[in-house]
Symmetry: none
Subunit: 154 residues, 2 copies
DNA sequence: TATATACCCATTGACGCCCATATATTCCCA
DNA sequence: TGGGAATATATGGGCGTCAATGGGTATATA
């Protein structure tokens, strides 16, 4: 499986370390399994993460923008300076930077939610509530969209 | 990681030395880790920096501008003639020239912002504000552009 | 000689690496 | 197919190394 799926809740130890779920580690390319990138989710109080390959792809695209435009600066500032890389130790653990923990209200436990090509890290309670809210919105408000997804052969 | 990523705030000591963040040093090619180039950012009151190798890329970008335009002269003058090289000592520290510190209002602390293939050095407060402004512009005004970067599978 | 810069050494705290353990999962074989 | 062994995962902790920082001294350059 090369997608981040399912949900896991892991503990943060005294040193601030937390295990990246094993199934998530296996999604990372064997070459780059010792590093991931983390950044603040734009829409929710959570942290998003993925392998470094995704970042390199974004870098390539930004590099194609007009070098002297304001857009170029806005993107590179918002993306590169807000992203942090963090190393994964031999046991599969990593450190969540303090600023990101604050942003997501994470203290002693971290809830990992697979999101396909990336994953989210939530304070467990908030993550649970977000899941319920998402599902409710999907059921109540997006029938047409849902049909589009389910009526076709996929 | 071969990109300048994330943000760091380091102190400037009595002698004017400041540590280039370790992760930035590692972006520089092993051959040329004892020298970087610095120049005034054209669009913001900040200093931009990168490895010496990046000079060729900058030259190429400028060369792609209309040769007979005023911009061409302006850019090549503003950038090339203002570039300074500075040495990195064995502890990974370097000196920011006085003129550049003035330009960026930097006094006792320097905020390093990763920008992919280069980095910026800001007075911490101003850098923080710039980040917020960039993000706001990106969220409010550039939806289509943003989608180009983020909506596709990468 | 005066000022600036490079080199060397020291300190502190953070982080990476190693080892250990408990629980869970998989595997193997009778 | 059941049970026990081997393996993997999540977690805890010791300790060495490195990064950031401070300061003394040598060297250089004018």
């Amino acid at each position: 499986m090369d997608l981040f799926v399912s949900k896991y809740i892991n503990k943060i130890d005294k040193k601030g370390r937390v295990s990246l779920p094993s199934s998530f580690r296996n999604v990372l390319p064997k070459a780059n399994r010792s590093e991931i990138i983390l950044y603040k989710s734009i829409k929710t109080p959570s942290i998003e993460g993925c392998g470094v390959g995704r970042l390199k792809e974004i870098a390539k695209r930004i590099n194609n923008l007009d070098f002297f435009s304001e857009d170029y600066d806005d993107f590179s500032t918002s993306i590169f300076s807000e992203i942090v890389t963090t190393n994964i130790d031999k046991e599969g653990r990593f450190l969540i930077p303090e600023e990101l923990k604050l942003y997501a209200s994470i203290k002693t436990e971290a809830a990992f939610f697979g999101q396909g090509h990336y994953f989210q890290i939530w304070e467990p309670q908030k993550g649970q509530k977000n899941t319920e809210d998402s599902r409710r919105r999907l059921l109540n408000e997006k029938k047409s969209l849902r049909m589009m997804l389910t009526q076709q052969k996929i």
